[in-house]
C-alpha cells in the first residue's frame, strides 16, 4: 500500500507535501508530483498537507483516479529507488498519460 498523487496536482505542484514527507519520497515531475510506492511509509502527512486534496491512500482512490496508482509507479521506471527526492531534483518527464493532459489537468 502507498499514498498516491492524482490529477489535481497537475500544473499546481504546491509542494506542501514535500516539507512534511518524513522520508523525502515525493518526487517532482514536469507537471506533477509523484510518490514513490516502495519508499512511502504510509504516515499520511502528505494527504492532510495537500491544499488541493490531490493525495489519496491507495485503498481510497476514487474509481476515476485509480489509474494514478500505476502512473505514480510508472514515473519511477527509469529513476528506480534513489531514496531521497532532494538528491535528484526535478525531472522533466511525466508518464505519457500525464504529459498529454490539457493545461491545468482539467
Amino acid at each position: 500500500m502507498t499514498y498516491v498523487v492524482t490529477q489535481s496536482c497537475v500544473d499546481i505542484k504546491d509542494r506542501s507535501c514535500v516539507a512534511q514527507c518524513p522520508v523525502d519520497c515525493i518526487y517532482e515531475g514536469d507537471r506533477m508530483m509523484y510518490i514513490h510506492p516502495d519508499e512511502c511509509i504510509e504516515c499520511g502527512a502528505c494527504e492532510a498537507a495537500c491544499p488541493v486534496s490531490a493525495i489519496y491512500y491507495d485503498a481510497e482512490l476514487p474509481p476515476e483516479r485509480e489509474n494514478f496508482l500505476d502512473l505514480n509507479a510508472e514515473f519511477f521506471t527509469e529513476i528506480g529507488s534513489p531514496r531521497g527526492a532532494k538528491k535528484i531534483g526535478k525531472s522533466n518527464n511525466d508518464p505519457a498519460f500525464v504529459a498529454a493532459l490539457p493545461p491545468g489537468g482539467a
Binding site: 500500500m1 522520508v23 511509509i41 504510509e42 504516515c43 502527512a45 498537507a49 481510497e60
Partner: protein, 441 residues
C-alpha cells in the same frame, strides 16, 4: 562559510532525529550533534508508540539510522538529562540545546472509579505491548470477555485492533512473547471503542479505519443511528476526507457481524460516566449514550479498560512550562520566558506544539526550529567564548553512567534479531532494561 556549532538534542524520537537531519543538511552550519535519550535505544515513539503491526511506518528507522550514524552525530542512550547530567552542564558545553522530549504522560477522564486496577492509560498499555523498559513485564493481565477503549484517535484504534488480532498475526510483529501470550489468553471477544462525540469529530485517519475492515475473524460493528448526522455535522462531512470516512463507516454499518469470532464496536456519542469495582478491580462501567436531549445509560461488565484520550508533555525542571497545554512555551521554536528567548534553547515536536499530527508533521515542525537556529547563528557563535564546560561524555564516564552509544544500540538491535531467529520471528524486542544494557556491551 559555515559556522561551527555544538548541538545537544534531547530525545531521539522523530522530532529529535529530524532536527539532527535538517541541521546536518544546512550549508550555513557545521553542526556537531549529540542526541540524548533516557532509554538505551533510539527512535522514541517509532519504537514505543507506532503499532507493532504497522511495519511500513516503522521502516522509517532505516533513514533515521542514516542520520544517527553520521560521523558528526553521536547517540548518547541511557542518559537522563537533569539526573545524569545537568542542564547547566549542557549549557556550559553546547551552543544549542534542542528539547524534543515528546509527550509521555497521559490525560485522565476525571470520573469516579478511574483509579481501579484494570483501568489504565493507553500510554501505559502501548508502552507495555511495545516492550518499553519503564513498564514492568507483568504490568498487564488481561481478562474478561469485553474490553473498553475510551477515545477516538488512531491510538485508540491501534489498541482495539491489537486486542482483536489472532496470535499468528501478533507473532508477525516484534512484540515480546509474554505480551503475545497475555493478549492471546485474555479471552477478550468484544472490544468496544467509545467516542464521546459523533463520527465527524473523531480523530482517527481513514487509513486506520479501513484497516479494521481487514481484520481476520473480527466483525466491525457500527450502529447506523450514529451515522445519522445533524445539520451542522452534515456540513462538516462535505470535506473530502470526512465524506470518505462516512462512506467507510456506512459500509461497516451495512455489513453486520455474522460468523465472526470477535467483534470490534465503534460506538459514537457514548462516554463512560463511572467505573464500579470489586476489591479494587474494575467490574463494570456505566455508559451514557446519546445527544444532550436524549441520553440513556447502561452498565457494561468489563475487567479491562484503556483510556486513550491524548498524550501530554512532562515539565522539564529548569525550563518554562505551560501547565494547561503540557508544552514548553516558544516562539517559532525558541524557548521563551516572559516573552524573552532563553539563549541557545529551542524546542521541537510534541513538547513544542502538543501531541498532534503524524510522523511527517514533525519534520515541518523541526524545520521551523532549525530555521530559527540558523537565523540566530551570529548570537550563538558570539556566546561560544563563554562555553567553558567539560565534554559531556567525560562527565558521564566519570559518573559511571552506562552510556549506550551507536555501536551499543547496534548490539542491542542484533540481539533482538537473534532472539527472533530462535523463535522463528523476524525480531523480538527486549523488554527489560538490564537485559538491554547487557546486550549493548
Amino acid at each position: 562559510m559555515s559556522v561551527q556549532l555544538r548541538v545537544a538534542v534531547v530525545g531521539s524520537g522523530p522530532s529529535g532525529i529530524f532536527t539532527a537531519q535538517l541541521l546536518g543538511e544546512s550549508d550555513q552550519v557545521d553542526a556537531h550533534i549529540d542526541v540524548y535519550d533516557q532509554l538505551p535505544v533510539p527512535y522514541g515513539l517509532v519504537r514505543y508508540g507506532v503499532a507493532p503491526d504497522h511495519p511500513k511506518i516503522k521502516s522509517i528507522v532505516g533513514p533515521f539510522a542514516d542520520v544517527l550514524s553520521d560521523p558528526r552525530v553521536r547517540f548518547f542512550g541511557n542518559v537522563t538529562v537533569g539526573t545524569d547530567i545537568s542542564l547547566a552542564e549542557l549549557r556550559n558545553y553546547y551552543d544549542v540545546l534542542v528539547f524534543a522530549s515528546g509527550a509521555s504522560q497521559d490525560r485522565k477522564l476525571g470520573i469516579p472509579g478511574e483509579h481501579l486496577s484494570g483501568v489504565s492509560s493507553a500510554t501505559e498499555f502501548v508502552s507495555w505491548y511495545s516492550g518499553h523498559p519503564d513498564t514492568c513485564i507483568d504490568r498487564f493481565s488481561i481478562s474478561g470477555g469485553t474490553a473498553i477503549v475510551v477515545g477516538a484517535g488512531n491510538v485508540a484504534l491501534d489498541v482495539a485492533r491489537l486486542l482483536c488480532r489472532t496470535p499468528d498475526e501478533l507473532r508477525r510483529t516484534d512484540m515480546p512473547e509474554h505480551v503475545i501470550d497475555a493478549i492471546a489468553s485474555s479471552g477478550i471477544r468484544d472490544v468496544r471503542v467509545l467516542a464521546r462525540r459523533g463520527p465527524v469529530h473523531a480523530k482517527f485517519t481513514n487509513k486506520e479505519l479501513i484497516e479494521l475492515g481487514t481484520l481476520k475473524d473480527c466483525a466491525i460493528v457500527v450502529d447506523p443511528a450514529d451515522l445519522d448526522l445533524n445539520a451542522e455535522d452534515q456540513e462538516s462531512a462535505a470535506n473530502p476526507l470526512l465524506s470518505r470516512r462516512m462512506a467507510i463507516l456506512n459500509e461497516y454499518a451495512d455489513r453486520g457481524s455474522l460468523g465472526s469470532d470477535r467483534t470490534l464496536r465503534l460506538e459514537f456519542n457514548t462516554k463512560p460516566m463511572e467505573f464500579h469495582g470489586d476489591n479494587g478491580h474494575v467490574r463494570s462501567v456505566r455508559l451514557a449514550r446519546g445527544a444532550s436531549d436524549n441520553i440513556s445509560t447502561t452498565d457494561v461488565d468489563t475487567q479491562f479498560v484503556v483510556r486513550s484520550i491524548g498524550y501530554r508533555g512532562c515539565e522539564f525542571v529548569g525550563l518554562p512550562f505551560d501547565e494547561l497545554r503540557g508544552v514548553i512555551p516558544h516562539r517559532e521554536g525558541r524557548v521563551v520566558v516572559d516573552g524573552e528567548h532563553v539563549a541557545g534553547t529551542y524546542v521541537t515536536g510534541w513538547i513544542k506544539r502538543g501531541p498532534s499530527g503524524v510522523i511527517g508533521t514533525n519534520r515541518l515542525d523541526a524545520n521551523e526550529t532549525v530555521s530559527a537556529i540558523v537565523e540566530d547563528i551570529s548570537t550563538l557563535s558570539h556566546a561560544r567564548s563563554e562555553k567553558t564546560g567539560v565534554e559531556p561524555l567525560e562527565l558521564l564516564r566519570a559518573r559511571e553512567v552506562p552510556v549506550v552509544d551507536w555501536n551499543g544500540w547496534l548490539s542491542i538491535d542484533q540481539a533482538e534479531i537473534a532472539l527472533g531467529r530462535d523463535l522463528d520471528r523476524a525480531r523480538v524486542k527486549i523488554h527489560d532494561r538490564s537485559e538491554m544494557l547487557n546486550a549493548a556491551i
